[in-house]
Amino acid sequence: MSATAITGLSLGGGAKTSAPISWKVPIALTALTLLVGVGFSVGVGPGEVSHVTIETGNSWSGRPTFDLPTRASVIVLALVAALAAGYSWWRASRRLKIGRWVPAVAGAALVVAFLLWAVGGREQSLQATSLLSGALFLSVPLIFGALSGCICEHVGVINVSIEGQLLAGACLAAVVGSITGNPWIGLICAPIAGALVGCLLALFAVRYWVDHIIVGVVLNVLVTGLTSYLFSTVLERHAVFATRVQLPRWEIPLLRDIPVLGPVLFRQNVLTYIMFVVVVVLQIFLFKSRWGLRLRACGEHPKAADTVGIKVNRTRVLNTILGGAVAGLGGAYFTVAAGLAFGKEMSAGRGYIALAAMILGGWKPKGAILAALLFGFADNLQNALGVVGVEIPSQFMLMAPYLVTIFAVAGVVGRMRPPAAEGQAYKG
C-alpha cells in the first residue's frame, strides 16, 4: 500500500467503540466455585479427616498416607478456585484473553475438593496413585480413538466409525492372539482390522461422496453386526478362539522410581507405552512434517492442495485408512491389553466418547488427549470412590463426564474451529 493512500485519514480515530465483553467464563467459574466450595465445606463435620495415600515410587519411603483436615482443605481449594474466578473477571473486564489454564486450575481444584469431601471422615484411604494410573489405562482406547479422529478430520474426513474401528481391532486382536497364543501377534493384527474399516469409510466417503456421518454411523452398525455374528457362531463355541492372552506390564527401570509420576506413568501395560509414542509422533508430525502439511492442506482447502499438485483424494484415502489403523490399535486395549477374550459390543460406546474427546479438545491431538484423560479419570473415579465406600449413586458419577462435555461444547467449544473442509467431498 502506498503512503499517499493513507494520508489524511486518521484510522480508528474518533469515538472509539469497543467490542462487547463476553462474561461467559467468569460467570461460569464463579457459579461453579460458589456451588462446590460452599456446598462441600458446609456439608463437612468439623473434625473430619480425609486420608489420601500416595505411592511415592521409592521403595524406602513406601506408601505414605496423608491425613488432611477435610473442611480446611476444601476451603483452601475453594479459595484457589475463587482466585482463578476473580482473575478471569479481571481479565475479562480489561478485554484480555482468558487463558485456558484458568478454568483448568479452577476445575482441578474443585475436583480435588470434591474428592477430599467424598472421602472425608472415612476409615479407608483414597488411593490417589492408583486412581491416576487406572485413569490413564482407562483412557488408552479413548486416546487412540481421538487421535484417529484427529488424523481423519484434519485430512477432511469425519470419522464417526471410531467405535467400529475399536471393536474390529479388539475382535481381530483377540482372535489372532488366541489362535497363536501370542498377544503380540494379536496386537499387530488390531490396526489391520481398524484399517479395513477405515478402507470402507474412505471408499464410501471419498470415492462415492456419501455423507461422512452417515457412513460412520452405518459402519458402526455393520461392524457390530459382523463381530456379534462371529461371536455367536464361532468364537463362543470354540475355545481355540476364546483363549485369553495378555500383553505384559512393563515397569521401566529408573523411571518407575520417580515419585508419584513413576507409578502413574511407568508401571503400565505395553499398549500404554505404544500410546505415548504414537501421541508424541503424531503431535510432531501432524504439524511439522511434509506428511502433516499435505494432510492438513487437504482438510483445510482441498482445491489449494490440488493446485500445487497434491493428490487430494489419494491423500484422504490413505490417511483415513491410517486413522482407522490407529483406532484399531486402540481396540487392542479391550482384549489383549486387558487380558480378555472378545465379547459382544465390548467397546461399549467408547468410540463415541473418543469422538467427543476429539471435538472437546478442539481438533488438536494435545487437547484431545487431555479431554480423553478427563473421561478416563471420571470413569475411574467411580472405582476409586467405591473402594473407599462412598455412596454416591454410581449413575451420577458415570454421567459426570458426559455432562461436562455438554457444558464444554455449549460454553467453550462453540467457537472452536474444525478443519474448514471437513466432511466435504472433493470433486475436483
Binding site: 484510522l11 452405518v218 453386526g225 456379534s228 461371536f231 482447502h301 449413575q395 455438554i406
Partner: protein, 420 residues
C-alpha cells in the same frame, strides 16, 4: 493495511457454508432409482447368505471334503441358505405352514409391532435431517419418553381411554423435553448437536438406571431394577384381535401429520429452508434458532412416542433399563433409507421391522444368530447411499452419474466465471 480492514479470507469456505446440505443428501438418496434399491437388497441378501453359510456347521463339514463330494457341499449350502431365508420370510411376512388365518398372518403383525417404534423415531430423525440437524439422540429421547409414559402408566390409575391418552402424551412430552436440550443449546450457543445428543443418550440411560433403583420406580417388594407393571387401562387396544395394536394406526397418523407439517405448514417451510440454506433463511427473516428448537422438540417427541409401542402393548410391560433397545440407532438407518420422507420412513420401518421379526424366527429355527440382520441393514443403507457402487457391482451403465457430474461441473464453472 494493518488496523481495521477486515481481511477477506483466502478463499476457504466460510464457517456458515459448512452446514450439511441434507437436502442434497436426501436428493442423492432419492436419485437412487427403485432398481438400485432392489439391487442393494439383493447384494445385502447375498452377503448375508455367505455369512450364514460360512457359520453353518454342516456347510463347514462338507467343505472339508469339497473336492471328493462337491454335491454334499452344495446341497448343504443350498439347504442352509434356503432354510434361513425361508425362516426370515416366514417370520416377517406370512407363516406358510399355518393352520388358521390368524396364524398365517401373525408374522405380519409381529413385523408391524417391531416397525412401530422404528417408524416413530425414524419420522423424528427425518425432520431433523431435513432441518440440517444430525440428531443421534433418538435413543435418549426414547428413554425419556419411556420414563414419562411408564410412570403415568403404573403410578396413576385412571379410566380407560384417558389413561392411554395421557400415557401417549407423556411419552411425547418426555421425548420432546430431551430433544429440547440439544435444540436450545444449538440455537443459543451453537453447540454441535451430534456431540450433545450422543452425550445425552448416555445421560438418559444412566438416569433411567438410577430411577429404577428408587422406591417410586421400583416394583414393591423387589430389588430388581424393574418398575411395576403398567395398568391395563393404558394399553393400546388390539387391532381386529391381532397382535398389531392402535400404535400402528398412530404411527401412520404421525407420518401423515409429519407430511402435512413439512409440506403444507409455515413451520415446515421454515424447517426445510433452514435445513437447505440457513444463511438464506436467516436473511429472509425466518428464525433459524426457532426452527432448530422446534425441530428438535418435534423429533424428540416423535422418538418419545416410540417408547409407547414397548410400554403400552398388550403383552404387559414394565419399565426396565433396556426399554429403548437399540431402536434409537436402528431408526437412523430407517430415516436414511426412507430418505427422510414420511412415506419412505414408514416403508423402511416396515422393512427393518420385518427383518427383525423374521430374524428372531430364523435364530430360533435355524441356528443363525439374529446379528446377521444388522449386517443386512447396514449394507442396504450403505449401498443405497452410493448408487454408483451398486451400478458398478452389476455393471450397469451409470448415465445419471455422468450427467450429474457434467451438470455439476457446468454449474461450478459458471459460478467461478460469474463471481468477480
Amino acid at each position: 493495511m494493518s488496523q481495521t480492514a477486515p481481511p477477506p479470507t483466502a478463499g476457504a469456505p466460510s464457517p456458515q457454508t459448512q452446514g450439511r446440505d441434507w437436502r442434497a443428501v436426501a436428493r442423492r438418496v432419492a436419485q437412487g432409482s427403485a432398481v438400485t434399491s432392489v439391487l442393494a437388497v439383493v447384494v445385502a441378501l447375498v452377503l448375508g447368505a455367505i455369512l450364514i453359510a460360512a457359520a453353518n456347521s454342516q456347510v463347514q463339514a462338507t467343505a472339508g471334503y469339497l473336492f471328493a463330494r462337491p454335491g454334499d457341499f452344495f446341497a448343504a449350502l443350498g439347504r442352509t441358505i434356503a432354510d434361513s431365508y425361508s425362516a426370515l420370510f416366514q417370520g416377517a411376512v406370512v407363516n406358510l405352514s399355518a393352520s388358521s388365518a390368524g396364524d398365517f398372518l401373525r408374522p405380519l403383525t409381529n413385523t408391524i409391532g417391531h416397525a412401530v417404534p422404528l417408524i416413530f423415531a425414524g419420522l423424528g430423525l427425518g425432520i431433523g435431517f431435513r432441518a440440517g440437524l444430525f440428531n443421534i439422540g433418538a435413543q435418549g429421547q426414547i428413554i425419556f419418553g419411556a420414563i414419562f409414559c411408564g410412570y403415568i402408566g403404573f403410578a396413576w390409575h385412571l379410566p380407560v381411554g384417558v389413561h392411554l391418552v395421557l400415557c401417549v402424551l407423556g411419552a411425547f412430552v418426555g421425548g420432546a423435553l430431551w430433544g429440547f436440550i440439544p435444540g436450545i443449546l444449538k440455537a443459543k450457543t451453537g453447540a454441535n448437536e451430534v456431540i450433545v445428543t450422543i452425550m445425552l443418550n448416555s445421560v438418559a440411560a444412566f438416569f433411567l438406571g438410577w430411577l429404577l433403583t428408587r422406591e417410586a420406580f421400583r416394583k414393591p417388594g423387589s430389588s430388581d431394577p424393574l418398575s411395576p407393571t403398567l395398568d391395563a387401562s393404558a394399553h393400546y387396544p388390539s387391532l381386529f384381535g391381532t397382535r398389531a395394536n392402535l400404535g400402528f394406526v398412530l404411527a401412520v397418523a404421525a407420518a401423515i401429520g409429519v407430511w402435512w407439517l413439512m409440506e403444507r405448514s409455515t413451520l415446515g417451510f421454515a424447517i426445510r429452508a433452514v435445513g437447505a440454506n440457513p444463511a438464506a433463511a436467516q436473511t429472509a427473516g425466518l428464525s433459524v434458532a426457532g426452527a432448530t428448537v422446534w425441530t428438535m422438540v418435534l423429533a424428540g417427541g416423535l422418538a418419545g412416542l416410540a417408547a409407547t409401542s414397548q410400554l403400552l402393548s398388550t403383552s404387559a410391560q414394565q419399565l426396565n433399563s433396556d426399554v429403548a433397545g437399540t431402536f434409537g440407532f436402528d431408526a437412523i438407518t430407517v430415516a436414511l433409507l426412507g430418505r427422510s420422507k414420511p412415506l419412505g420412513t414408514v416403508a423402511a420401518g416396515l422393512l427393518f421391522g420385518g427383518l427383525k421379526a423374521g430374524g428372531y424366527l430364523m435364530q430360533a429355527s435355524t441356528d443363525t444368530p439374529i446379528d446377521v440382520i444388522l449386517v443386512l441393514q447396514s449394507v442396504v443403507v450403505l449401498l443405497i447411499a452410493a448408487p454408483p457402487l451398486v451400478k458398478a457391482i452389476f455393471h450397469l451403465p451409470d448415465e445419471d452419474r455422468q450427467a450429474r457430474k457434467a451438470a455439476k461441473q457446468a454449474r461450478l464453472a459458471l459460478r467461478t466465471e460469474a463471481t468477480a
